[in-house]
Every structure is written in C-alpha cells, then in structure tokens.
Amino acid sequence: MSTTTDPVPPFPPHIKRFFDAELESFRSHLILMGETAASQVRSAVKALVEGNTSLADQVIAADDEIDQLEVKIDEEAMRYMNLRAPIATELRLVIVGMKASHDLERVGDEATSIAKRAVRLSAEPPLKPYVDIPRMAAIALEMLRDALDCFLNGDTEKALAVCRRDAEVDQINKQLYRELTSFMIEKPGTISRAIELMFISKSLERIADHATNIAEEMIYLAKGKDVRHSDELKKNGGAG
C-alpha cells in the first residue's frame, strides 16, 4: 500500500448561508430580465411583421418593467457586494450580473425602438415581404437564449458559439443595407420606409452584439477568463 494513492479526505458539506437567498433572488431577477427582454424583441418583430400596432404599443409600455429590473439588480448587487463581501465566483456573478443587466436594458431599448418604427411602418404598405428581418431576429434571439442558457447551466461552448454567430447577423445586416440602398435609389418614394427598416436592421444587429457581450460575460462568470477581443473568438470569427 503506497501512501501516494491515499485519497484526500472528503470536504465537509457546504454551509448554507442565510444570505444565499439574496444571491438566488439576484440570479432570478437577472433571468427574469433576460426573458422579458427577449420577449420584448420577439413581440416587437412580430408587431412589425403582422402590422399589429396594439402589440407594438404593449412593447413600448413594457419597457419600463425592464428598466425597473435593471435598477433592482443594481441595487441588489450593490447591497450584496457591500454587506456580504463576495469573492471568487460570487464576486464575478455580481459584477457580471450588473454588466449583463445593462446589456439587457439596452436590448429592451432596441426592442422599444423597433416597436416604435413598427407603428410608423404599419401606416404604409410593406416595402417587401419581411424575410430577412425575422431571420435576423430569430438568430439574435437564439444568441440571447444561448447566452442566458450559459448563465443557467454554465455551458460555455454554447456561449462561444454565440460569439461566433455575431458575424452571421452582421452579414445579413450588410446585405439588407445594400438591398435597401438600391430600393431608395430606384424608388425615392420608398426612402422613409427603407430608412426605418435600415434602423430596425441596425437594432437587431445591436441586439446580437449585446447577446455577444452577455455570452462573453457568462464565459467570464463560468471560467474567470476574459475572452473579449481574444484570438479564440477571432479564429473562427468568419464562420456562420
């Protein structure tokens, strides 16, 4: 019997702390915010595609909810950092939570912006059938979902994939840009609608950017490694 194979005695079970509930609440609020933001984007795009102004109005009205959640999350984070002195994963969670909540708040703002434009566009006939915009929205939402999934279960592979997909959305955005530019050159009457659509496309592209940010933050949360602007992402950056 060699001593080198002796197993390390097991650690005692973790102590449940009374303030664990506060962290749980913080996490829940963040998840709730993510869901609300995603649902806002989905509804805004739906309102645009269906020309549903009442749905668009709902989206605009609901933005307040997201803003409130951001305030709440910041407050909880400040309180937790102040009174509970988190370290390691807990500290990353609180800081990442604050940053992600800011991104999600921006996602909510973009959704509102899309909804406002959807209201304006509904007054006129559609420029062309909406194909690319729902496609972009679907990709952006999927990215957002994957990023939040990483928050839930620490699946960093999925989060890395999110970062790599960002280019795909950028591609569609550029393509739509060219398309809409040619519309405007050919028929000046479409200029105002084309510009609205350009902005909507830009919003969706930004939503995808925020999703990417969140994914990067979640990787940092799970691994403690900052992947922003790193080679790891750029390697396969073009693939989509």
Binding site: R17, F18, F19, E24, I31, R42, L83, A138
Partner: protein, 288 residues
C-alpha cells in the same frame, strides 16, 4: 428556419423560474418592509467610569426587539463596556460606576437600587469572547443555569438540553456524547455550546462579546448562521472587530470611538453610505 414566434417556447427552464420569484424575494433587506420595531433597550445619555477614567461619554441609543445590533469601533472605544453595562457585568470590577444617564430595559432602569442583578442576568444572557464552557459535561453545562433556578426533574432538564442544543445548531453534532466534557468540543462547537447554555435559561436579550474572534472562518460562519436564526426569538447585541461580520449579521450598527457613539443607523447605511466621515474611515479600514 426558426421563427421568432416559436423561439420562446423552446426555452425549457423558463416556466419553473417565475414561481420561485416570491420566495427568492424574501431575501430582501431586513427592515425595509418590517413593521416599526419595538424599542427594548433605551440607553439615555449614559456616562460611565472605571474609577477616575471615563469610558463612555453621553451615549444614547435605542435598541429594537428581535433585531441584531452590532457595536463596532477600535479597541478601547467603549463598545464592550457598554455591552457589559447591559447585564451589569461591570459590577464585578471595583470602582465602576454609572455617573449620569440611564439604561432602561422594558422601561425599567436597571441601575436602580431595587433591581436584582441576578434577575437581570437571567433575562440578559451573555456569550464571551473566549468560549468558556465549564469543565463539566455538555449536559451539565446546559443545565447549569436551570439548576441554579431550582429545576431538577430529569424530564424537564432533558427537554431543555435538547431544545437549547437544537437552538444552537449543535444537537446533531453532540447528541451521542452529552455526558462527555464540554471542553472536548472544537472551538466553534464550544462557542455554540456557550450560546446553547445562554439560551437554556430563556433570556430575552443575548449579548455577544466578540463571539467569533477566536474561531476559524467555518466556525465563524456557523455562529453567524446561528445568530441569524436566533434573532427570530431573541434580541441580540454583538460586539465585533470584524467589519464583514457586522455587515453580514446585523440589522443595525453602532460605531463608537473613544467612548462616544459616533453613528448609529441601519447596517446597510453604515456600510454603504455612512453619514460620518469617521465612520466611513473606520468601516473602510482607513482609520486615523
């Protein structure tokens, strides 16, 4: 192609998260939604002397029922002195006196001549900096206070021992060795035994004088958890040198400096946004 409409339905974790929200939300800062707390201890313009040297200057403080109040401040600031005034442990030191002001517990000035200090100490328990289980069995340690009061029936004593040890989160660890020496326990267990001993006589107030200063972080965490649980039944006052502990455990915090109460407020305020620059310097570890 995935459509926007079907996207959210594929998210499996979502539905079971929302129902947990109300439960999670209860982890909110204590005191924000609580009803106005009842004042249990009213310290009014208290001056206290050790012989010729003054230890407390004009301290006024109102402590709430079933709350944890932390006393913080540099060594020699009078926080322990004030704590020991509350069960008149200072009587044991020659030449101590309350020169001015009063301490009222439930409206009764505890320094009145007709106050029985024995009765006072039954109601105001104390846990000391250095855990001091008596060199007797765990069982005898817990029953010590009760036996003083004349309780002798075994059934009653057994019941109290179990209740107190459970109350101090120690029952599971020691139930099989109640009749072994209390000094055979680890440091953290000893301190929880002292807490169990204090709650066995069912006081209303528990004073804790740096209860964790000699404990390792894990034992400290357990004592802190215990404090959090005990505050549903007892009013707790804790003196600590550990800022994080004050921040974690207490509802209100009082900061003392050379015998004076500098700031007394909700713990969150003291640590987030203290109104006194001295307090801020102290809690951020940049004192002087």
């Amino acid at each position: 192609m995935v459509t926007a409409a079907t996207l959210m339905e594929t998210r499996s974790p979502a539905p079971n998260l929302r129902p947990t929200m109300p439960a999670a939300a209860t982890g909110q800062p204590a005191g924000t939604a609580a009803p106005a707390a009842e004042v249990l201890i009213d310290i009014d313009h208290l001056d206290f002397f050790y012989g010729a040297s003054q230890a407390l200057y004009d301290v006024s403080l109102r402590l709430d029922t079933r709350k944890v109040t932390a006393f913080i401040g540099p060594s020699g600031c009078g926080k322990s002195t004030l704590l020991r005034c509350l069960n008149r442990m200072n009587d044991l030191i020659d030449g101590t006196r309350v020169a001015k002001g009063s301490i009222k517990i439930r409206g009764v000035d505890i320094n009145r001549p007709d106050v029985d200090v024995i009765e006072l100490r039954k109601r105001v328990g104390m846990v000391f900096q250095k855990s001091n289980p008596f060199p007797k069995s765990i069982y005898e340690n817990i029953t010590y206070g009760l036996r003083l009061q004349g309780a002798t029936t075994k059934a009653r004593l057994d019941e109290v021992v179990e209740k107190s040890l459970r109350g101090a989160a120690l029952w599971e660890e020691v139930k099989d060795r109640l009749h072994t020496s209390g000094l055979g326990l680890s440091g953290g267990q000893q301190q929880r035994l002292c807490i169990a001993r204090a709650i066995a006589v069912e006081p209303e107030i528990i004073l804790m004088d740096e209860p964790c200063s000699a404990l390792d972080p894990l034992a400290t965490a357990k004592v802190e958890e215990l404090i959090h649980e005990l505050k549903t039944k007892f009013t707790i006052i804790i003196v600590t040198h550990n800022m994080q502990q004050a921040a974690r455990c207490s509802d209100k915090t009082a900061f003392f400096y050379i015998g004076r109460l500098i700031e007394y407020a909700d713990t969150q305020q003291i640590f987030m946004n203290p109104s006194n620059p001295q307090t801020e310097a102290y809690v951020s570890g940049r004192f002087g």
